[in-house]
Amino acid sequence: MTDTLATPAKPQGIRITGAFHRLLAFSGLIALVVVFSLASPNFMQTNNVLAILQATSVNGVLAIAATLVIITGGIDLSVGTLMTFCAVICGVVLTYLGMPLPLGILAAIAAGTASGLISGTIVAKLKVPPFIATLGMMLILKGLSLVISGTRPIYFNDTPGFTQIAQGSIIGSVFPALPIPNGVLILFLVAIIAAFILGRTVLGRYTFALGSNEEAVRLSGVNTDRWKIAVYALAGGICGVAGLLIASRLNSAQPALGQGYELDAIAAVVIGGTSLSGGRGTILGTLIGALIISVLANGLRILSVAQEWQTVVTGTIIILAVYADILRRRRL
């Protein structure tokens, strides 16, 4: 009774369609780049490419944070205002308290992690739906940023080197031909670390497992609450990094900024093929999604399309991307 000579033939097919979807986003990006390069000779200029990458860095980092939470089957609406909150905390530590730069960096990331811990606890322990919990946190953080800063921007003029965090170029100082800004470098570092955590660590495994079938994970004897809180905390910490990036780029913490960023981040995640129902998603996809959004914005601007139209196009692309995903699933 040696059963199963028939190793299932299906998985290969699915892997191909899965890859196909990632390819879809990627080929979409390539197509956009080709179209814009043909339409305008300025598009592929080094400076413009660097500008696109720099413009992707903040949204990209936020989208990575959002990806982690979305893979668990949740959602994090607070990433944008949390980013601002972390920037403000950093401003308080550096400018108001006059502490050294490393402490400011640490404070921003710690503030993000703490906020993530709170969101995660509200979701996991109090069973408040993630949408509501993080909507509440979004407003709380927005208000706190305004309160702490006295509604005024905090400038980093007293901290030499602060603007270098995002705007300097370590790579450029070594290879002058490649003046890639540090902000872009940080985005890729965060992406690599997040992809590593997702793919190779226990936390990553539970991130997928929670989104796939939380009850099954719980019945397997796993403390699901603790891991869920950990994912939100990690996402919060990453928002702290985004806070540093935006503060460095503006050389200030702008307390009124932030709301609206969460939607761009979620858009990047969705375009990148991560399922809002949880259980599947990739960091690479999110990066591609974030790049598509900034390439679109940049390209349309170069073509002198009015800014108002850019959001119309982005919105259309989100719907098309998710529809493509639905088509793919229907074929399964």
């Binding site: 009774m1 059963d3 226990v202 495994r205 497992a209 079938n213 397997s220 004897g221």
Partner: protein, 520 residues
């Protein structure tokens, strides 16, 4: 562990039971689910647990596997009393359960599923050791003699293979007790043979297996002993080999006779209201043909998952059909959506009222009017609220719906009265054909009687009625004629007053997977 030969071992009373449950009690709000139940499992035994839907089998096993806490009673493992407080503690005691609904993470691979919660790690516990994970899964598959890629995502596997992954997961916990809840529900015959081969291998290794199933032939094929439960009580334990199927069925249904019989049908040869011919969809609906006459109540009996709801939903246009014809009053109609069915005069009362039948947040008045809103529509789309109120009040009176007013939120009514609201909705829509799916589920006894009376009255008015029910006494009490399904097929029709045993025979009558062309 005692020494045993593969076949005789199980029945041997000398072996210490791996599991001995005594006096187990469990109550849920409003339901006394288990009443002093006992159960015993020997090493190397396949012990079937049988009973009608709601007899308490799954509840008992959920207590053994740590999902529910018992209210009273003792559980002994290898003779030692234990308290099982969580699934994890059950696992530590060597008890594995394969739930009726597979509890796998579809997006993860087979190996990742097997080791969830116990992933092998490296680099001081920081990283997953994916190689060790896959090797571990591969060696379990090898011990099961199963060719399966540990790296295959679970969603890419057939249901049978997914089941094997569940078994592998349980075995990876070094389970000595394996509980299988309806493991063959979604399997075809070849896959069942595969599963049984694995069960026999486990048995030979001394693993005790609890096998919950409704399927008589399987019980005969695979199990050593059978324990029967009824209404949350222990009925008895018999050897599987020398107990006739009839005896087991008699134990399951009990001797309680239904006191009341169906009200007589208005006319034997009333015109046919609804006729369906050759309905088909995959394995759920296999060539189902039936008809209902005006004024007739057709009972639809069968075990859970037999395909009755599927047929009803297909007739109502809620799910697609692959083939088949639906005729209403002798004329073929095309029903693609519920909208078409409602226009053709079919009303469907879902078994899941809260999800599909009732808008729980709306008041009684709006629920009654919900399927007929256009009739209350003044020009410009404004609703004629006064008219709606009058009609709602009329139905509240006619069906004696107990509600403080027609503006009470529907969710605040009792189950029986909610059901009446849904009935009123379809009556207002002038449905001549009404399909009731488990009309009295979750309704107390007094309200049941009222619903029965109402159904009889509707039939007397000449409406054609189909009643799906998993409670045999209910089917017998209501039906003028009984259709029985098993595994997507109609296994037969019985006249009113048929015995419960006759129904159960048809309801457990499996057919070989090779579909013989059968005459209509």
């Amino acid at each position: 562990m005692s020494i045993q030969s593969a076949s005789a071992s199980a029945a041997s009373p000398l072996a210490t039971p791996i599991v001995a449950m005594e006096g187990i009690e469990k109550s849920f709000p409003g339901v006394h689910a288990l009443k002093s139940v006992r159960f015993e499992l020997l090493p190397g035994e396949v012990h079937a647990l049988m009973g009608e839907n709601g007899a308490g089998k799954s509840t008992l096993m959920k207590i053994l596997s740590g999902v529910y806490a018992k209210d009273a009673g003792t559980i002994r493992i290898d003779g030692q009393p234990v308290e099982i407080g969580s699934p994890r503690e059950a696992q530590a005691l060597g008890i594995g359960i394969i739930h009726q609904e597979l509890s796998l993470m579809r997006e993860l691979t087979a190996a990742q599923n097997i080791f969830i919660g116990r992933e092998p790690r490296k680099a001081f516990g920081l990283l997953l050791d994916e190689a060790a994970l896959n090797d571990g899964a591969a060696s379990i598959f090898k011990s099961m003699n199963l060719a399966l890629d540990p790296r295959a995502p679970v969603e890419s596997l057939t249901i049978a293979k997914q089941q094997m992954v569940e078994i592998a997961k349980a075995l990876s916990h070094k389970s000595r007790v394996l509980i299988m809840d309806e493991p063959t529900a979604a399997l075809n015959d070849a896959e069942i043979a595969e599963l049984f081969a694995i069960i026999r291998r486990l048995k030979a290794e001394g693993v005790g297996i609890v096998y919950i199933s409704h399927k008589m032939d399987e019980i005969k094929r695979i199990s050593d002993r059978v324990t029967v439960m009824r209404d949350g009580e222990y009925v008895g334990t018999v050897p599987a080999a020398d107990t006739p199927i009839e005896t087991i069925i008699a134990m399951m249904v009990g001797r309680a006779l239904t006191t009341e019989v169906a009200a007589p049908r208005a006319s034997e040869d009333a015109p046919i209201a609804l006729e369906v011919i050759g309905l088909r969809r995959g394995r759920e609906i296999r060539d189902v043909s039936l008809h209902v006459r005006k004024g007739e109540i057709l009972g639809f009996a069968g075990l859970m998952g037999a395909g009755r709801t599927e047929v009803a939903r297909a007739i109502f246009g809620a799910d697609p059909l692959e083939a088949g014809e639906i005729r209403i009053n002798g004329k073929a109609v095309s029903i693609r959506r519920p909208e078409d069915a409602v226009k053709a005069g079919i009303g469907y009362l879902s078994e899941d009222r809260k999800h599909f039948g009732l808008a729980t947040g709306l008041d009684v008045r709006n629920n009654i009017a919900l399927a007929s809103l256009e009739r209350f529509c003044a020009p410009g789309g404004v609703l004629k609220d006064g008219e709606m109120r009058d009609i709602a009040k009329r139905y509240i009176g006619q069906l004696s719906i107990k509600t403080p007013s027609d503006q009470q939120e529907a969710r605040l009514l009792s189950g029986g009265n909610q059901q009446k609201v849904v009935i009123a909705k379809w009556l207002l829509r002038d449905c001549e054909i009404l399909i009731f799916d488990e009309p009295t589920r979750g309704i107390d006894v007094g309200a049941k009687t009222e619903i029965y009376k109402l159904l009889n009255a509707l039939a007397a008015q000449g409406r054609a009625i189909i009643v799906i029910s998993s409670e045999l006494p209910e089917v017998l009490r209501l039906s003028h004629r009984i259709a029985v399904m098993c595994e997507g097929r109609l296994t037969g029709f019985l006249p009113a007053g048929a015995s419960q045993e006759a129904i159960m025979q048809l309801a457990t009558q499996r057919q070989s997977a090779v579909e013989a062309p059968h005459a209509a």
